[in-house]
Symmetry: C2
Subunit: 734 residues, 2 copies
């Protein structure tokens, strides 16, 4: 890219404002609004939301547990919402697909045919580990976590003190039972909040369309527009007869949520106000230039290359149509998705000039700081932060291949189990998070889940690939503990390595689920005396890995002292310009708003904001992933739109675009109209916008939603799920 | 695709009218006008053209040699036009690139850096074989070619009689010298026209931008929109001091065309009327269903698969960066282009339901015929035509791999040379077309051209691939002559085959250009006595190939009697509906018209009709094919638009889309505005529209043009070719 143009771009170096529309080269009326706001920030930005079209009563927005946000829930990794007083939950098809797969058999191929429970009794248990988390309370715990820690406290002690305090807060929060609490860090530790969540663990599958609707377009259309995916499915949350979370039981009853959303049949048109409430996972909008350069200059390209090899390795080891391939389908799909995403991020960073923009932002901040008191202090803390980041970046490069070499599933399991046995020697409160009694259920579920995802041939092929990378790096980056334990040769030699690894797979007992579960309750001595090769390897590597973890904690302690300083300066700088600052995504409830908007992602192309039923026919080849069911094609040919037609497009809208600010974790999020009616489910972003995780670009950022009109149309006209439409409350006027 | 939808599509089974807009699922105002009209047809459709915006004086259109069509010329395979009284010719960069490559050396890399002649003396000789053909006269010769041949004439005799008559017409036409004449068949032989063309053979390269402008986007953007390619270059036509075509000489002078085009600086806006005049190569709009099914059901998929293997074979044999790769770049690019085109055609045929539409058309025609006199005769001629087509289709399948096995370049050369020696035994007038004295120059040029396109390693790898296909087919399709001559094994065995082919490349003298040229003048006995392995192989295969050619001529003779009947019926049917019928493209001058139009090629996407300078910056990665020159990027950053800005897009338009009806051969065609000013050069179509060669689809057919404003901007602001801008006459008002 030409340096001059970069500079022109860089003028918009700081973009919490929609004003950056100067970037949009088109005459399109981009009004993209950056920001994943915490509900308590909404009163601050309510005026802007009303300007765009919000019509809800004043005050409704700031109540996390009121309407509508009280209806918005997390599935852990995905978002969802209640849509009936009987605990009916709507989320994305791709968020519930694991449960569809879990229940599928050769006789009942629900993945292909879809599943509709016509009665409560017919509902199916969701896959192990499925949860519904209802956020019930959010408390600022910044003081309890951070107060009274002296500035010159040694980093390791700071880390431990904060860790202990957080565990204590969680323990107190969870004491009444049925709750899952977490202390979430905001603004890099400048703020901590305790999130109290009801943890519903009896979750059942109610309705999922077949892949030929719910996954229409598959990997080909993933991250793409135009899109025609029916990415919706329904769960139901059950609790014990006493109304409290309980394990699965026939006696359980549907959970009665305090709030549920009305589903809009009237829907949206172009330019309408919408907001999305959900649980975005992670963004890096405030990362330092040095972190951006590390990620885009080294990590992403290296990882992208590894992903390519990794995918090829699995595909070669697990032939299409084999049982092994079925086990690795989810992983393959995840790796492909990640690779496509990385490609999009790398290209997006180039296009917007991410590195140069970040450089400009830091320079501008520094200029502002220079005019302030305390600038010397600020410079010192920045220098300190940069030193920690440099150390972490170096470590990441050096440990990259070692960390990959630890990926084999049974080695990872052996390590987790051995670690658990060691942690259990301590009182519960002193254990490492993840190994407390509250975590046992999840550990067991993970040990069970390996059953459906592990094949020794494929796992070995993956390990060979990782070890090839490990052995091909500079000798200085090799880890003696691994070299010794695995008896690794000086250089890569495929035959030798194959011979070396064969006994692991031949002799281990960890391939058996009962054996893995039995290890959950064993003592360290049992591991240390074991002849199981993976257990032995995990035990030999343990001291090195623990030493590294200690070093990480020291670094985290330093970071915990330094990053908040930086973030507070950044926040003050923005406040001086009248800009509120939203925190980076961290898996907690956020609200983002904007409008139904297509716009121009690239010169010469315009996105229409809605796709149509006829677009499905246009794409349909009869071959997956473009193989819509005959009944659906028939209804389209008959123009049987029912009450779901959008006049301006002359059809039922399938998916729509918006300029909202979302990321992974937002999948399944409720898309609400100006009055809080459910008008869609967010399920994807365009490939041009994935770079927004690092730098929100108003020109390119577009999120993709499935329209509730299409959902209702499919339920009523195609899938025979009219009884669920009846269970929901439909809003027939906008 | 759902059968019902297919039927809905099929209602528009016959589409010479723009009225088929019902197909356009969008509310876009598609006004695409099907038709590649011969100039003599224009008066018939002039009213429609005026309705769309044509403003030229009445009568101007029907004069082939007047303004503007007299300025429109052919380069043989590409179209072009005169743009100055000094014989300056503008065409596409990709049409002149062979001449740029021909003149490039390690010291002067014109492909990379571009070339501008600042004086006449500095102009460079175009590549051997470059020609400028100026159509000077078009005469209907249907009667001289076809009259007096009895209906029951044996097919072989009919073929010969017509061939002799055509050769006679050509010979008479060319008698004055300096002309190249051809008898072109229209409507499958229902009409013949004698095209008289001035053949200018001193052609010089005047100006070509570098690949980073002229080929911007390369194979990635090929057939794609949005597009930012500066696909323009300039030649100059030279003639002897007497004004007649002559071989290259210092004494030659610029040709003074009767007409040249004014170049528009004012340009177009969305919706403006445009027309394109050029030499489209071939379409199949009137092909029978049985021909469509053969092509899409067998030939295209088989060819697409072969192309994939063929490309991989060349890439493996000619390593990137090697001399061999440079020699095969043009072939690779051609094969890739063809493969992408076939993929687009196959997908397009599926999307529009080509087979079903053709079936419906033939059924409708049959229905109409049933109401007419002569229907029995019509049915009989249709049955006859179908029998010939079936025979040809079967033959194509059976001979597919044999024909591929004849592709090695030196084998093809040996065959052509031996054939020439045999033909030369006859008086010139009796020889096979292509082997007459008038063809000798081209044969010599082809023998020379092998020098720049042949590498024995790569050629052998290709031959191995073709022979693998040949040996893997059913034994019944093998050709004894080839099996014997090559001593082919019963089944494919790579090692054996390699051993078999090695001596061909080791012992042949045909790899040497002087040797090949020497063979041009030898006698059949010289060939028959030769020890050169390729010559020996060509001689052994000769009787079989001649026998096949005889059989082809018999079939052609039958076709010549039957196809005109069918076409005349089709024309009568359309006439009854008030629709004029344009002939399929056949390399003669055609005019097509329409408007500047983006529209929606697929549900959910809109094409903007113009791209902008800033779109180049947006795509630019600094790596080919997205590596615009620094100077160009600077001028964009400086917004130095000069007088070339289009206000409605806020920039200089780079490329634009239209709904015109074009195909291969149209490359370089003059795009004219309502008054006949040059506003662009046609250079491509979108991938969605390539299927229009078989079935014009108003929804998807879009042609891509380079805007003259971009051309002038590059010449003036970037490439220092302002003196050429001054040589041209600019039209500053639309």
């Amino acid at each position: 890219m030409n340096p001059r143009f970069k500079k022109q771009l860089a003028l918009n170096y700081w973009l919490p404002l929609a004003a950056a529309a100067a970037l949009a080269l088109q005459g399109t009326s981009a009004r993209a609004v950056e920001g994943m706001w915490t509900p308590d920030q909404l009163p601050e930005i309510e005026a802007r939301m009303r300007q765009l079209g919000l019509e809800m009563p004043a005050g409704a927005l700031s109540d996390l547990t009121g309407f509508p946000f009280g209806a918005v829930i997390s599935l852990g990794g995905c978002s969802a919402s209640f849509v009936s007083p009987q605990g009916l939950v709507v989320t994305n098809h791709h968020c519930a697909r694991g449960s569809v797969q879990y229940n599928s058999t050769p006789e009942h191929n629900y993945l292909a045919d879809g599943f509709v429970a016509t009665t409560r009794d017919g509902e199916l248990r969701a896959a192990p580990g499925a949860r519904v988390y209802v956020t019930t309370k959010l408390t600022d715990v910044t003081r309890p976590v951070t107060s009274g820690l002296p500035a010159d406290m040694p980093p390791r002690e700071r880390y431990q003190a904060m860790d202990d305090r957080k565990k204590q807060l969680v323990a107190e929060c969870e004491a009444p039972g049925g709750l899952r609490c977490v202390v979430a860090s905001f603004h890099g530790g400048a703020q901590y909040r305790l999130v109290e969540r009801l943890e519903i663990r009896d979750v059942r599958l109610v309705y999922a369309p077949g892949d030929s609707i719910g996954k229409y377009g598959g990997d080909v259309d993933n991250w793409m527009w135009p899109r025609h995916t029916g990415d919706f499915s329904f769960y139901r949350a059950y609790v014990g007869p006493d109304g409290r979370p309980a394990d699965f039981s026939k006696d359980n009853v549907p959970y009665r949520p305090k709030h549920f959303l009305q589903v809009s049949r009237a829907g949206l048109k172009e330019g309408d106000f919408i907001m999305v409430a959900g649980y975005p996972g992670r963004t890096n909008r405030y990362a330092r230039l040095s972190e951006v350069e590390h990620t885009f200059g080294w990590y992403y390209p290296v990882m992208e290359a590894l992903l390519r090899d990794w995918i090829a390795t699995i595909e070669a080891a697990a032939q299409e149509g084999s049982d092994a391939r079925i086990k690795y389908e989810a992983r393959l799909s995840g790796l492909n998705n990640y690779m496509k995403n990385l490609g999009g991020q790398i290209e997006g960073a180039r296009r917007v000039g991410l590195v140069e923009r970040r450089r400009q932002r830091e320079a501008a901040l520094l200029e502002w700081v220079a005019t302030r008191h305390g600038r010397t202090y600020y410079r010192r803390s920045i220098d300190g932060l940069e030193a920690v980041i440099a150390d972490r970046n170096r470590d990441a490069r050096e440990q990259f291949w070692f960390n990959n070499a630890l990926r084999p599933q049974l080695l990872a399991a052996a390590h987790e189990l051995y670690r658990l046995s060691r942690e259990r020697q301590k009182p519960d409160a002193e254990r490492e998070p993840g190994y407390q009694d509250r975590d046992l259920r999840f550990i067991r579920e993970r040990m069970e889940a390996i059953e459906r995802r592990y094949d020794p041939q494929v796992d070995r092929a993956e390990w060979l690939l990782f070890l090839q990378g490990y052995l091909s790096q500079p000798a200085g980056q090799r880890v003696a503990a691994l070299d010794t334990a695995l008896k690794l040769p000086a250089a890569y030699d495929r035959a030798a390595l194959e011979a070396l690894l064969a006994p692991y797979y031949r002799d281990t007992g960890l391939g058996d689920v009962a054996t893995r579960l039995a290890w959950v309750d064993k003592a360290p001595a049992d591991f240390e005396a074991s002849e199981d090769p993976f257990v032995r390897l995990a035990v030999s590597l343990y001291p090195y890995r623990m030493a590294r973890e200690e070093a990480d904690k020291v670094r985290d302690g330093r970071m915990q002292a330094l990053r908040p300083e930086y973030m507070n300066t950044l926040i003050a700088w923005n406040a001086a310009q009248g800009n509120p600052v939203y925190p980076d995504a961290n898996g907690t409830l956020r609200v983002t708003y904007g409008t139904v908007f297509g716009g121009s992602p690239r010169d010469g192309i315009l996105y229409e904001p809605f796709t149509r039923l006829e677009g499905i026919v246009e794409k349909d080849t009869g071959q997956a992933p473009f193989d819509a069911p005959a009944r659906l094609l028939e209804r389209i040919a008959a123009r049987d739109y029912g009450p779901y037609e959008l006049a301006s497009i002359g059809s039922v809208p399938v998916n729509f675009l918006s300029d909202l600010d979302v990321t992974g974790g937002n999948s399944g999020s409720a898309t609400l109209d100006a009055r809080g009616h459910l008008v869609g489910l967010l399920f994807d972003g365009t490939l041009e916008s994935v770079n927004s995780d690092w730098d929100f670009d108003v020109r390119t950022t577009r999120s993709i939603h499935v329209d509730t009109r299409y959902m209702l149309w499919v339920m009523e006209k195609v899938d025979g799920a009219g009884h669920l439409v009846e269970e929901m409350t439909l809003a027939t006027t906008p």
